[in-house]
Symmetry: C2
Subunit: 247 residues, 2 copies
DNA sequence: TATCGAATTTAGATTCATCTAAAAATAAAA
DNA sequence: TTTTATTTTTAGATGAATCTAAATTCGATA
């Protein structure tokens, strides 16, 4: 009920008689587990330069039906979390973006915790972090951040937003876009699926690994790369498109 | 759907033709956030020697209505989590008890983590742990347990069940039941409400504090107790009934 | 510009957890 | 033992999030 009336984050209530007593309440809007997943998905889909995210894309990511997405978009629109125009697409409002960044912050802090402190492998953390990210206590997130030593990047190389939503931009390029004899260090991955990360582990590639392009095979765009100790291997374009190297 | 058919935890599927191939599947039943809260509540209400927990008691703890409780009891009964007889009351099945102990395990491990690692006060942890306890990953609970050094008791002195559901029984008595000149050490509290714990903090009482009964005031059953360095104070019976002392 | 096909939205139904109000069962008191 | 009070359950409704199937809109092509 209150949620319906008070959509902003800060509300001023002025005394009717004196006009001098102003009560400023900061309202912490909370969103359901489901709403948070939609917000996060819209954020991620608009991150790649996309302006208006379309319904089907959201449905695919969330493994749900387009009709369900439409319903939720109307709801989030009423809450001023998204700009939604029927048939046109959806984008986050500044408010929605703030919410998204907080969710992402919590997700990445938990992933860091799981890997650094609980010795999870980097391919095991996503699923659990998907649950942990919804615990909304700000104190918890901030204390965790402090406990971890204010990390700037998570185990996959993704930047961790600060409490106010800022994040470090890492200068990086895709391994697939480098030229022969270029070299650099792995600073992130573009895909965090367990199968991909397990493959990298097997190949001895992780954050911080030095890589040099030895050759490009034009036939299928696969790459011959050099690692430490003259170790050489060939990786497919599929793989090279999902590894970020320091610029 | 699968949930409806397969209620146990282990299922054997025998090949129809050869009869020799037996597929044993261990099914991890999962319960909704809401179901888990009911299970936990029933466990806690039956812990105090009560055999059959009644509907109203559950409704009161969960701040819901008796009618809602009845609905959920029928549901949990169908899942073999509780023994439920209309109008008579409810108790956990062995299966339900296992589930309850896992939830309590996770709750207490998280409380320990919050206090020991994230520097929460013991009155701040309950609410957050109520959310964290529902994250069901067994790997997470076990790694957390390991990370904390396999603690046997949480910050309120309550025992932490092991993965198999066993817990240390602490020999203890209520401060209210001790005689004049008896002495001992605080090993737990019977009430974890923030207001109570903040009061104890203020009085300088925490786990491990040595207490000696100096006098009992018969008028209102309040106690005069002695702490370290000849510090003396008077506490009400209400308070003394909520502090456990080593036996 | 008329039409086709894909994307999107509406309409109506379902499931879960909840509620209120009324009925039924149990327990306590007269 | 009857009556009364309390507890518990049923019946019917609601809101959130979802679904299917049908209708609508958009954009691209002929």
């Amino acid at each position: 009920m209150l949620n319906e009336w008070l959509r902003g984050e800060v509300v001023n209530i002025r005394c009717l008689f004196t006009q001098s007593l102003i009560l400023t309440i900061k309202i912490k809007m909370s969103h359901s587990y489901t709403e948070e997943n939609y917000i996060k998905t819209i954020y991620k889909l608009s991150a790649n330069g996309v302006q208006d995210v379309n319904t089907n894309a959201i449905a695919e990511v969330l493994e749900t039906k387009a009709a369900s997405v439409t319903d939720m978009l109307r709801k989030l629109s009423a809450k001023d979390i998204v700009n939604y125009v029927k048939y046109k697409g959806v984008s986050l409002t500044p408010q929605g973006e703030r919410v998204a960044l907080q969710i992402i912050r919590r997700h990445r802090l938990w992933e860091t915790f799981l890997v650094e402190k609980l010795k999870f492998n980097w391919d095991e953390v996503h699923e659990v972090a998907e649950e942990l990210e919804h615990i909304s206590s700000t104190l918890l997130a901030n204390r965790l951040d402090e406990f971890l030593g204010y990390p700037k990047f998570d185990p996959h190389g993704d930047p961790i937003p600060s409490e106010s939503g800022e994040m470090k931009h890492k200068k990086q390029r895709l391994l697939a876009e480098m030229a022969i004899d270029d070299a650099g260090v792995v600073v992130g991955v573009n895909d965090s699926q367990p199968l991909f990360l397990q493959y990298l582990d097997k190949m001895g590639i992780s954050l911080g690994t030095s890589i040099k392009i030895i050759d490009k095979i034009p036939y299928d765009n696969s790459l011959e790369i050099g690692l430490a100790q003259d170790r050489c291997l060939v990786i497919s374009q599929e793989v090279s498109k999902n590894i970020f190297i320091s610029a």
